[in-house]
């Protein structure tokens, strides 16, 4: 075990993956010698050479196109998109190519080895273009897996599982926690199964559901609610596509209430999909409407970020409103 922050955990996972398989490659803008603008690929070029860890020209569509080709060839590309806000030029390569590669070819070809890593989310005074949480643009795309870790331990285990997984994975890293989240992490390789939610805290009155950096915000709200005597069951979804309906439905069947919180705007966010599915699966068990506490339906603001975000107080109020419905 070692103390690692989330960045270290990711760097460590990449290092281990590259060490055991020389077909694993890391690349993206500033990823090479410099180690990435957040330093998550720090040291890897020195260790594994310029052929396996390198800068690309500044073109996200090129990075993912290139990565698709590499994966089809049998390499294991781990492509970095510098900020999730800049993943959109690669949207066609991801949605029309990555996601459909295996299906359209009848499994003659596939890009299952591909992992796309990208820092997402707010809380760093980044405004419109350094704060977005675009996961819902991908969760509507069959063929992709979408994974979001919440802390260093999860980050390493989920990333190693994503690299091993025979399907393309978009791995969203909560950049606000890169240095802020520190924890015990095994030094050796280990994997956390994709597609399984984690029940973080057991409770009986209401189920709280989230992922990534939002987990600690929800937890803070849960503490406030606890002081009011409300017993919350806290679930980290971890894999958003395909998602673990069963774990969530089982919990809501028990508690009768569900609150989902994410950073992205409310309308069209992934909480909508979850709410739609759970209201169907748990209809007779629901004692209150499923509540969604999310970002406002605007671009991500700068100076009014505090007012904009789904913070612990809004979630706390949401918990109370749901309890008192």
């Amino acid at each position: 075990m070692a103390q690692m922050n989330l960045l270290h955990a990711i760097n460590n996972a990449l290092d281990l993956a590259m060490a055991v398989n020389d077909r694993v490659l890391c690349f993206g803008e500033d990823v090479g010698h410099f180690g990435g603008v957040f330093r998550s690929t720090s040291g890897l070029q020195d260790k594994y050479g310029k052929n396996r860890c390198f800068n690309t020209p500044l073109t996200e569509q090129g990075i993912i196109g290139f990565a698709n080709g590499l994966a089809a060839q049998g390499a294991v590309p781990i492509a970095e998109i510098q900020f999730a806000d800049y993943i959109f030029p690669a949207f066609d390569q991801i949605v029309n190519e990555t996601a459909k590669f295996r299906y359209r070819s009848g499994n003659e070809f596939n890009v299952g080895s591909l992992v796309i890593r990208t820092p997402y989310g707010g809380g760093i005074a980044g405004g419109l273009y350094h704060s977005q949480s675009p996961e819902a643009y991908f969760t509507g795309t069959p063929g992709l897996k979408v994974v979001v870790p919440r802390n260093p331990y999860q980050a390493k285990g989920l990333l190693l599982a994503a690299i091993k997984d025979d399907n393309p994975v978009i791995f969203f890293e909560p950049k606000r926690l890169y240095r802020a989240s520190i924890g015990e992490v095994p030094e050796e390789a280990y994997e956390i199964e994709l597609g399984k939610a984690e029940v973080v805290t057991i409770g009986s009155d209401i189920t709280l559901l989230g992922w990534g950096a939002q987990m600690e915000v929800i937890e803070k709200a849960m503490e406030l609610a606890k002081a009011d005597g409300i017993s919350c069951e806290l679930i980290d979804l971890r894999t958003l596509l395909p998602w673990d309906v069963e774990t969530v439905a089982t919990s809501v069947t028990k508690t009768g209430r569900l609150l989902i919180s994410h950073e992205a705007p409310l309308t069209g966010g992934f909480a909508g999909e979850i709410a739609a599915t759970i209201q169907q699966q748990c209809f007779l068990h629901l004692e209150a409407p499923i509540n969604r506490i999310c970002g406002l339906d605007t671009p991500y603001p700068l100076i009014q970020e505090k007012e904009y975000v789904a913070d612990h107080l809004k979630i706390y109020e949401g918990i109370k409103a749901t309890m008192n419905f």
């Binding site: 060839q73 009848g106 309906v245």
Partner: protein
């Protein structure tokens, strides 16, 4: 970093450079009558390769002709011919090794046929039947074969270009004696993916042959509305890529250029851009009618330059081909195509499970559920889903 201002060319008058600054010539070998240009250089070709090329040309002519007819009869839903570009497509494929990956746009069935894709495979794909390697999921002509190193066609244009860069980079890292050839149209070359793919290949030393089929049109859009430069070739120079332009109706010139490109790319771990100048003699697809956007005269002008005829003329001058062989070959392929067509259109559709397989490497829970629900539904209304209702689950 940029060179500090020394050892660079300097001027003191503000002159623009423009497309006239760089005119890229066209490589030629064969004249239309089948004789070589006086100074022509020959590609590496012997009788057996020459006959294989010509055989493929005839096969594709027949296939294209028959399948357009089948589409008109409503037996298949869609088709695209490569008429006019056979010399360009088959000549370039002939310049490769079988280990090289081919990533094509959609009009390159000639390359696939040259690789040995069977008539049965072609036909099964077009009929989306249970024997289609692609499991009936894509429109006709979206072929692919892992065994033959021919990447499955994808309709979104130009996406295969940066993919080819990545594929070839992977080949190089593995130390294979193989590269990737990527076909695309001059229209597709306007997409951002073109720019990304070529620039990355140059910077990352990826042994990729970018083969631009400049055939004058992108559906109805002529090159005047597509670009204002001297074709696509000068862009290669801009990226620092070795570039060559070739007469696409001149099969020997195409073969020569591709052989040189392959040797250069593998020796130097660098990309090459080939621009093949030709003309799409047929309609864009069976959904298209070119009379709405171009003249018969223009088409006739190009028909006279037909590359298949030119190559045949050369073969005859070599004493390798004659009219009797010609007639026999056309007859043979016409019969084979018709026969296979009748067989393939009777093969049943793929099993229902193929609707949800291959989305992921395994069928995940939610898709298993959706498949189960669907089966129940179909069982309720067997007469409404005739293709799948007979299926034994």
């Amino acid at each position: 970093m940029n060179q500090p201002q020394q050892n660079i060319d300097v001027v003191f008058e503000p002159q623009f450079v423009n497309k006239d600054t760089l005119r890229i010539p066209t490589l030629k070998v064969l004249q239309q009558d089948g004789t070589l240009y006086p100074n022509a250089m020959m590609p590496n070709i012997d009788k057996s390769l020459a006959l294989k090329i010509y055989d493929t040309m005839v096969f594709i002519r027949v296939l294209d002709e028959r399948m357009v007819a089948s589409q008109r009869q409503g037996r298949i839903s869609f088709y695209m011919t490569c008429k006019g570009e056979e010399a360009s497509i088959i000549g370039s494929a002939a310049g490769l090794s079988d280990d090289d990956m081919i990533m094509a746009q959609y009009r390159e069935q000639g390359a696939l046929a040259f690789r040995g894709f069977s008539l049965e495979n072609f036909m099964n794909q077009m009929f989306s039947n249970a024997k289609d390697l692609g499991k009936g999921r894509q429109m006709p002509i979206h072929y692919g074969s892992s065994e033959l190193n021919y990447m499955t066609i994808s309709s979104p244009l130009a996406t295969q270009i940066p993919q080819a860069t990545g594929f070839a980079y992977g080949q190089r890292l593995q130390g294979l004696d193989a590269l990737t050839l990527c076909y695309f149209g001059e229209g597709a070359a306007s997409e951002g993916d073109f720019h990304a793919g070529l620039n990355m290949a140059a910077v990352l030393n990826s042994p990729t042959i970018f083969y631009c089929r400049n055939n004058g049109y992108a559906i109805s859009t002529s090159i005047e509305d597509q670009y204002a430069g001297d074709g696509i070739a000068p862009r290669g120079v801009g990226y620092g890529i070795e570039t060559i332009r070739v007469d696409g109706n001149d099969c020997l010139a195409v073969l020569l250029a591709t052989q040189k490109a392959r040797a250069f790319a593998l020796e130097n771990n660098k990309p090459v851009l080939i621009e093949a100048m030709s003309y799409r003699l047929g309609a864009h697809s069976t959904s298209d009618d070119p009379s709405g956007y171009r003249s018969k005269e223009e088409e006739d002008l190009w028909a006279e330059l037909d590359g298949v005829m030119r190559f045949r003329n050369w073969l005859e001058l070599q004493g390798w081909w004659d009219q009797a062989q010609e007639t026999a070959l056309y007859d043979k392929y016409r019969q084979e195509v018709l026969a296979q067509l009748k067989v393939s259109e009777k093969v049943p559709t793929p099993l229902l499970v193929e609707l949800v397989s291959d989305v992921y490497s395994d069928i995940p829970t939610h898709l298993q559920q959706q498949l189960g629900d669907l089966r129940q539904h179909l069982a309720k209304y067997p007469q409404d889903y005739p293709k799948t209702s007979g299926e034994k689950h």
